[in-house]
Amino acid sequence: MKLVIAIIKPFKLEDVRDALVAVGVQGMTASEVKGYGRQKGHTEIYRGAEYAVNFLPKIRIEVAVASERVGAVVEAIIASAKTGQIGDGKIFVTRIDQAVRIRTGETDVDAL
């Protein structure tokens, strides 16, 4: 099992969700985060004070999938989250040692 973590632009969340549903993913977790990569921040001015804001709002989604489906899931995310502009984000894939469905006690692939 793998955990696919994607940092994407916030307005792309619905597109990515639709794409993942289309490849058969049945659940995901999304959180609001801040981050930066090559996309620079901006400056905010409040009367006499100037603040450089380096962190930009992003959405982090996490999807747990069976190992054989990782390829399809990553491609679906890329296709739906891409705009071609700096700041589109990144995808990381990590291993999952164990997964459990809390309600039923099902484990591993049955829990995904």
Binding site: I45, Y46, R47, G48, Y51, V53
Partner: protein, 442 residues
């Protein structure tokens, strides 16, 4: 309970238990006839000015601080309102407006004793005296509440309360008496319609001193101290702007043409101030910020305050322009140059605006507007040939700067002898909401 709170409670109990024992006598006096229309307007004006502090100023200020201090900033406005109201009732009014000594009033109206249904004040003969008390109370409240902006994000709540109480009695009351209560500045012919010196400059100077004494916020100049929610500040500004119609219009102390002129000049000054700041920012920073727009409006309002009932509508426009421009300069250039951390620009907007407006009143005052049966010639300014008025206004500005500055400093040092003025470094980092009040925005 902490040591701070126990000290506070004992102090208040001792101070207030004195007077409530005495039952006020309801003396029936023969006085000038109370006018129904004037009274109706003044009651409305009182409500408008009270709205300026709660929730006007509370929203305006708390929208500009960081999230962890929003509730604490609001608490300052609310607590200040309650505390100053009681102190004004107890002795503030009497010492300000009763008796015509040059320096201070008398204790005749302590706890408003002797005020009856027919009583009137010599300063407002057409309305009930008790209404004059309450109307002036709302001015006292907002003046004290304004100072909180200069020390936002770092002042200990207990020290703040003691400071408010002391400042009202030792700074606000004397200056009010001097300018409005028949004191030496009134005798000198100072023109201050709605509080350019008494409220704006006074609070502004006190704010500057307080910002200096308390020191800069942690992270000032390096950290991101951006406002939590400017939409609150915009709403607060709206309440202040509309409430100012009561501030200015009510200072006519009657439902008359002068009140209407005051309201008009006030509104035009706010409008011009807002646009002036907006254009200046657009020109110097490439974007017109919302904070700039609302600050410009308040700057215009602060500047027109002493002049509103003395000037024509077009003067209001010019005064608003000067106010917007000078305050913009003070908040962006002067502040950085001098290097003080007046968190919410109490000095830059209210201090500079109040002083500017006071001097401009001496320039633009139109005799026709202030003519009355008591003073048929009215008060004229420079443009009508009375150059001396500008000097008199300048005299008032200096007097207020000196008294407010020195006494505020001494008062802060006195409070500091008993209590630290600032919260601890750790508490400042955690935020005042949680550490001073045990609550937080979720």
């Amino acid at each position: 309970m902490t040591r701070d709170t126990i000290r506070m409670a004992c102090g208040f109990a001792a101070a207030l238990s004195l007077g409530f024992a005495a039952a006020p006598a309801m003396a029936q006096e023969t006085a000038a006839k109370i006018d129904a229309a004037d009274t109706a307007w003044m009651i409305s004006a009182t409500a408008l000015v009270l709205l300026m502090t709660i929730p006007g100023l509370a929203l305006f200020y708390s929208g500009m601080v960081r999230k962890k201090n929003v509730l604490a900033t609001m608490a300052q406005s609310v607590a200040c309102t309650a505390l100053c109201s009681l102190l004004w009732f107890a002795l503030g009014y009497s010492l300000s407006f009763v008796g015509d000594g040059p320096w201070l009033g008398r204790f005749d109206r302590l706890f408003l004793r002797g005020i009856g249904m027919e009583s009137t004040s010599a300063f407002a003969p057409a309305i009930p005296e008790v209404l004059y008390v309450t109307y002036q109370m709302t001015f006292a409240i907002i003046t004290v509440a304004l100072i909180a902006g200069a020390v936002a994000d770092r002042m200990r709540f207990s020290a703040f309360l003691w400071f408010c109480a002391g400042w009202l009695i030792f700074v606000y009351v004397p200056i009010t008496h001097w300018v409005w209560g028949g004191g030496f500045l009134a005798s000198a012919g100072v023109l201050d319609f709605a509080g350019g010196t008494v409220v704006q400059l006074n609070a502004g100077i006190a704010g500057l001193i307080a910002a200096y004494v308390l020191g800069k916020r942690q992270g000032y100049g390096t950290d991101n101290l951006a406002p939590h929610d400017l939409s609150l500040a915009v709403i607060g500004m709206g309440l202040l702007w509309v409430g100012w119609l009561g501030f200015s219009g009510g200072s006519a102390l009657g439902a008359n043409s002068r009140a209407a002129f005051a309201i008009t000049a006030t509104h035009l000054a706010a409008s011009t101030g807002a646009l002036t700041w907006m254009f200046l920012e657009w020109w110097t920073r490439r974007k017109p910020s919302v904070l700039g727009l609302i600050t410009g409006a308040i700057a215009g309002l602060a500047t027109i305050t002493p002049a509103s009932g003395f000037v024509l509508p077009w003067h209001g426009v010019v005064i608003g322009l000067f106010g917007g421009a000078f305050c913009f300069w003070a908040c962006t250039w002067l502040k950085l140059r001098i290097g003080y951390d007046d968190s919410l620009d109490v000095f830059g907007v209210h201090g500079v605006g109040g002083a500017t407006g006071t001097l401009l009143t001496g320039v633009f005052a139109v005799a026709a507007l202030s003519a009355s049966p008591d003073s048929p010639e009215g008060s004229a300014g420079l443009l009508e040939g009375n150059a001396r008025q500008v000097l008199i206004q300048f005299y008032a500005v200096i007097a207020v700067i000196i008294w407010s500055g020195v006494l505020t400093y001494l008062l802060l040092k006195a409070v500091e002898f008993f209590l630290p003025l600032r919260v601890s470094e750790q508490h400042e980092i955690e935020g005042l909401d949680l550490t001073q009040h045990g609550q937080a925005l979720q």
